[in-house]
Subunit: 476 residues, 2 copies
Amino acid sequence: MITIQQLSDKLLRAEYAVRGPIVIRAQELEAQGRKIIYCNIGNPQALKQPPLTFMRQILSLVEYPELLTKAQELYPKDVVERARDILTKNPSGTGAYTQSAGIPFIRKAVADFIANRDGIPANPANVILTDGASKGAQAVLTALLRSPKDGFMIPIPQYPLYSASLTLYGGEQIGYYLDEENGWQLNETILTQSLNQAKSKGINPVGLVVINPGNPTGAVLSQENIAMIIKFARQHKLALIADEVYQENVYATDREFHSFAKVMHALGDTDTPLFSLHSVSKGFLGECGHRGGYLEMRNIPENVLAEFIKLQSISLCANVPGQLVTYLMVAPPKPGDASHELYVRERDSILRDLKEKATLLGQGIQQVPGMFVDIPQGAMYAFVRFELPHKPGVDPTQMSADQREKYEAERDNAYCLALLEETGICVVPGSGFGQRAGTLHFRTTFLPPRDEMEDLVKHLGGFHVRYVEKLRSSAS
Amino acid sequence: MITIQQLSDKLLRAEYAVRGPIVIRAQELEAQGRKIIYCNIGNPQALKQPPLTFMRQILSLVEYPELLTKAQELYPKDVVERARDILTKNPSGTGAYTQSAGIPFIRKAVADFIANRDGIPANPANVILTDGASKGAQAVLTALLRSPKDGFMIPIPQYPLYSASLTLYGGEQIGYYLDEENGWQLNETILTQSLNQAKSKGINPVGLVVINPGNPTGAVLSQENIAMIIKFARQHKLALIADEVYQENVYATDREFHSFAKVMHALGDTDTPLFSLHSVSKGFLGECGHRGGYLEMRNIPENVLAEFIKLQSISLCANVPGQLVTYLMVAPPKPGDASHELYVRERDSILRDLKEKATLLGQGIQQVPGMFVDIPQGAMYAFVRFELPHKPGVDPTQMSADQREKYEAERDNAYCLALLEETGICVVPGSGFGQRAGTLHFRTTFLPPRDEMEDLVKHLGGFHVRYVEKLRSSAS
């Protein structure tokens, strides 16, 4: 029989905390009848966020076109027209493999969306439709990693897709800290230090990953910060991966989303390769199950583009319902369309609800002694810092970096596990995302329904105080 | 700007002929208004094979559950019940990420399907739902390749997913010839030679890929042949990948599909790791656009299984509509269900049509002097051998193996390109799948509508005769 020793080391070393041991324990408890509040993953519809009616109406028609004749009266006029138009342009509907890069008219719609969003030119030939943004990110890593000494700069904390995929594909992680004191923006000094340190270890940096709005931080980067990042990438000849899947999720009134493409255009940078990712899973759609998204590339010559399309062709193409949801995301109903009013109402209700829950969570946690968080400006997460007392005689500052990382990971894991066992709240330990030595965090979403969010805020504080008390008393 | 030299060598070297230059040329010609008969890819619904009504009715209801109340009367009773049941067991429908391995009740349905098909036990815990079979195959290669000297035995000719993925992941291809004289079965002597030759080059064989029914060969392996393969794998400690996506596509009346799982069970082999792949894209469903499928594992300990699930978790989960189509494939309407009669009628019509077209193609080609093929027993392809005269003074037997391979690839590519330009028929050169030195082939599907198949057979012969004539006259 095969043994675990026969598996790839790279696979064995890859870690993906968002679905790690704490989540597995939560599923066990749930199977035993415990009520679990899942705050581990950005999966809105699993937590009762409703889908947008417009998307689902069109999918039902394209999946089963007989409804177009038998039940036309059940659908708004623009929905019927849109479904007919999809089936005219792509007669096989959802049933056939598409071109490797995706259905041509959808790639064009994505380019139009970017052009309208940013007021810049966009080329459909540079758009590839993907099974969610994850597959787009993995394509870029696959294409750009030439040797095991090549590395990508990734934020700390970061969404573990990047660390896991780098481990899996055999590239180096070059972590750079986000500036927690400064609203989790990027900091040029820190970037430079991290780059130089990597080079001094013989690592060849080839790319820089930025997540904006941030996961797990919930931060929205300023235009100036993005301009700094682009200049930094240009100076150091790094390809940029801009993970912009939360672009619709901006709640802070003094913040807005700026795309890397737009800022790069304004800077007149026609040199730095840019790979932007978007997804149907986030925003106000939350269509995670459909696995749709796109990768848009800039400053990429045609022969490089052709290699990306070849890579896509090896797995044939992205799933077609996901391609269609991507289309409907970038080409929603227009004012005057029969669906428009309902669409706007549903969209605004979801975004308003998310904004209120972000505030509820942030303000609630700020009341708890020993817990620290800003009200999330965007995305679906808060990265909450918390403080725990050490046992007498334990001084982490005397530990080696590895020992300390291990010690702190044990502490945040134990904390999150105890939180789960005691309250049913499932969050992800900060060590799964990376955190500055000497700090402890967890990531929580603010996706559960409002009443559960209120419970969560209430129970978090009580738990934290008791947990700290217990550590103190066991220490004395 | 990024250059192609900055991309991974492994990506640059990967080749995927099924969507290669000839297909790109066909798309250009089509854009210019030429009628193209696409025989390059197993994509039935692109060639007007209708989807099964049952699948699409249920998808429409799950995508847009309001139809359950508003339009129930449009659907057969069992369809409505099935859709309600899906939404009860998986309340988020198609909208949420599922567990990494897929929706639990669907994994159970897959295990039940295997148990019923083969009369053997099957465990839902060993089933992972995937975005098509390709992703299942790639997961196995990713997990089992520990070093660049590890290799998988793959058939020649083979479906280029395997060669492309091995190149991409940095593993060795250990080609073994299928026995064309013997209906493309596997031959133990050839397998042993190929294994020994690989070992003598320092390659470490870790797995053996078998495609049954065969792609591109259209052959169906006998039970004895499968037993031989399993014993060979066991003896040499190879993991088996059984690509069984064409299991429903058996047309020869003297052949039937035997699964590797069933034969392995009969042999009492509880040691050899087996990874079986299935897909919704082939069979009589042809639901390529939905990217659904599964990977079933046998003789795999729990900790190895956990690593496969972790791998799946890094990309979150397979798309949910694809998971649902997989469910409906393994759990079709039962006799007595309102949908059963239509389902059976549609299924039988598609399979009958495929069988007739296989015969039409095989018999037609057998009439052409210099072209050779058996009537395909299964799958969706014929791998047609053809003979071309050499230029005077050219003696391929005097060439090195590499020179010869290049020479023959140029010849079959030129042939297929001329076929496309002259007749609009798009097939894939044999060199894209691998072929024995001294032979030339192309792969064609028999998926186009019947009238197009008749044209194809007619035009193939005329083209071949003219092409040979032209080569002869330019030589003299």
